[in-house]
Every structure is written in C-alpha cells, then in structure tokens.
C-alpha cells in the first residue's frame, strides 16, 4: 500500500550512539535490518524506484521551464511541482536514514516527561490546512487529564505526524478523523480512527513493512513511499510501545498507539511542554 509520504520534521539522528540492540523488525520476527541478498536486491529495487521517480519529474518540469514554452499561469505550478518533488525526495532520504539508524540501534530516545494529549493537539493543528482542503472533520478527545509519559517528544511527534498524515491522505473528501487519547491501568493510548478507504485484509500483515503499498487503486493513486507507517511503528517500538491497526475496506482504519505504563510519570513531577 502506498501510505502517506513519510514525515520526519524535527528528527535529528543519530543523536547518541548506543550499543547494538535487537532491531525492531527482528524482535517482531520479521526480516532483520541486514537482509540477505534477494531481500536486499528487492529493497534496493524499491529504493531506486522511489528515488528516481521524483528525480524524473523534477528533470521533466525543469526542462519544460528551461525551454521557456510554459505560459506564466502554468509556470508557478511547475515551480511548485519541482519544490514539492524535491521535498518528497529529501523526506524520503531522511526517513531512510532514520530507519537505518533505528535498525542499527543508533537512534536512542532522549526521554523526558511528555504530555501526549498536548502533543496530539499541537500536531493536529498543523494538519488544519490539509484537513480543511478536503473538508475532513478532525476531532480530538481525551477523557480528562492524561498522565505524562517518559518519552522522546520529537520522536513521538514524528510517529504521530505520520499516522495523522496517513489518516488524512486516505480519507475521502468530507470524511472524519477522530483522535482519541486515553489512559487505562497506566497504559497511554492514542487512537487515530479515520473514515477512509480502509485496508484490504490480505494487506494488513504487511502494513508496517518498509516500502509496502497496498493493492487498492485508490491507494496507488496517492503519492507516498511506503515508509511512513514503517517509521512510525519502529519509533513507537523504540519507546517500548506498540502500534496496531484495525480496518475494514470502505469503512475506515483505526491505528492504536500504546505506550507502556511503567513509563508513565507519577503525578507531581514537573512537566515540560511538548516541543
């Protein structure tokens, strides 16, 4: 499935070297970070395709502009395409570096007390324009004060941004995205539920695989690298948490992010605002 473009703003990696740790993929019983030759060839093939596609577009639009045959009205649009494809390329490269660092155990969360509900509200605000552009109603709810967790707010923000971007990207015009923050028995949860196109049951086991793109044409028609959810899942796992998905094609998907209770901060601890 071609999930939304991977989002990485604010992530600085590697921030601190660390001893070798078991990769997330290996821990979950999937292909480890150093795949064998056939898997590596397949990954490189995906990589070549994802890198060359925006380059192809940038080159084509630049050539048309260089020829001077583009009328003024279309010229701005051409520049916008070049800018957008350049950004897509930069984001893709950054995401690949992040994934590689995670799998090598070289990305270590810088933990501090984080108010997840505040972080979620701040991030949802950054999608206001995108949601309004598709007339999508984004609603945030939480039952009351949510205990802070010891986490890396920047890394969690990257994971949440990718999940929000995914929900908005694959929800048709006029749809709804609900973001529910909760706490139960010391576990913090964030559910992002959309009324989008959903995920085919056969695609679900691979949703968090790198470069995975679903079979639905509605998915393939959207831009994306198939890396956003992979990065989100690994960043959550880096915090000892989990990311699950429930979905029904044509009805929508719910991604449930959980962070373990032992990382919750007892009340009375001074909190810093989410960055």
């Amino acid at each position: 499935m071609r999930w939304g473009p991977a989002i990485r703003d604010g992530l600085q990696a590697p921030r601190c070297p660390a001893g070798a740790t078991e990769s997330d993929a290996a821990r979950r019983g999937r292909q480890p970070g150093t795949p064998g030759a056939p898997a590596q060839r397949e990954l490189l093939g995906h990589l070549a395709h994802e890198l060359k596609s925006p380059l192809h577009t940038i080159g084509a639009y630049a050539e048309m502009l260089q020829e001077g045959s583009v009328d003024p009205a279309a010229r701005n649009e051409f520049f916008a395409v070049i800018t957008s494809e350049s950004q897509r390329l930069a984001t893709l490269i950054d995401t690949l570096v992040d994934l590689s660092n995670i799998e090598a155990g070289a990305l270590v969360p810088q933990r501090g007390p984080v108010r997840i509900d505040a972080l979620v509200k701040e991030l949802v605000g950054t999608f206001d324009t995108a949601a309004r552009g598709k007339a999508i109603d984004v609603v945030v709810s939480s039952p009351g004060p949510i205990p802070a967790v010891l986490a890396d707010s920047q890394l969690l923000a990257v994971a949440l941004r990718n999940l929000l971007a995914n929900a908005i990207q694959y929800t048709p015009r006029g749809g709804r995205v609900e973001v529910r923050v909760g706490a139960a028995r010391g576990t913090i949860t964030v559910e992002i539920a959309d009324s989008g196109i959903g995920i085919h049951p056969d695609d679900r086991p691979q949703v968090f695989d790198k470069f995975f793109r679903g079979r639905a044409p509605e998915v393939r028609q959207q831009p994306g690298s198939g890396l956003g959810l992979a990065l989100a899942e690994r960043l959550v796992a880096l915090h000892g948490g989990g990311l699950e998905v429930e979905s029904a094609p044509g009805v929508g998907s719910t991604f449930r992010l959980t962070l373990p209770g032992e990382r919750a901060v007892p009340s009375g601890v001074e909190l810093r605002e989410a960055r």
Binding site: L44, A48, S53, L55, I58, M64, P217
Partner: protein, 125 residues
C-alpha cells in the same frame, strides 16, 4: 495527427509529457494504469504507447504482454520508461516485438526524439 497513449500512475509525469507531446503536434490520450491503457489502445488504435513499468492493477509488462497477445505489436511501438534494474523483467519486455525500455530519468525531449525516430522511414540495407 499521430495518436499516442501515455500511461503513468504519477499525475505529474503524465501531465508534463502530455504538454510536451501535444506541443510537438501529437494527439495524446492519458491512462493511469495498465488496464486503462489497454482499453485506450483497443479503442483508439494509437501508433505509440509510452508507459511506466511499475503501476497498480496491470503493470507495464502485463500490459505489453496483453498487447502482444492482441497481435498489436510491433505495429504499435511501445516505450517502457522505468527505474527498475530487474534484468529478467527487462529481457521479457525487450523480447516482445516493437517494445523498447528506457531508464528514468528520461526527459520529455528524449521521449519526443524517440517518437520522431520511430516515424522515420526505415533504410533498407
């Protein structure tokens, strides 16, 4: 006016090629996957098809194979534009009559040049 089908799942890529080819005097029909391209070829009988390889539903190889089964090759000339390094896949494509494979990135001018070259009368040896 020569008719060309352009098939790519990336709207940006379709648009820029359409603009270039139309300015060069060709009639351009657009498809976003192999299924659509096959329908357009069967309905409109273009002389050229320019297609991406990796696409949803029906990919470029399946499309070319279906066109071969239809008996439309090599009268229909096909340019497959790809970033794939899969040699076996390339070999299967180029084994089909009238099909050539080109690497991305490929500029609109290069595509136009390929079309023009196909229209030159062949020199008999």
């Amino acid at each position: 006016m020569e008719r060309i089908v352009v098939c790519d799942d990336e709207a940006y890529a379709r648009r820029v090629l359409q603009m270039k080819l139309e300015r060069a005097g060709y009639e351009v029909l657009l498809a976003s996957d192999g299924d659509e391209a096959l329908d357009l070829v069967r309905t409109h009988g273009p002389r050229f098809l320019i297609t991406d390889l990796v696409m949803p539903k029906m990919d470029g190889l399946e499309l070319c194979t279906a066109l071969h089964t239809d008996g439309r090759l090599p009268a229909l000339r096909v340019l497959v534009v790809t970033s794939s390094n899969d040699r076996a896949q390339r070999a299967r494509l180029t084994a089909l009559p009238g099909v050539v494979v080109a690497d991305k990135p490929l500029s609109p001018s290069q595509v136009c040049a390929w079309v023009r070259a196909q229209m030159q009368p062949e020199v008999q040896g």
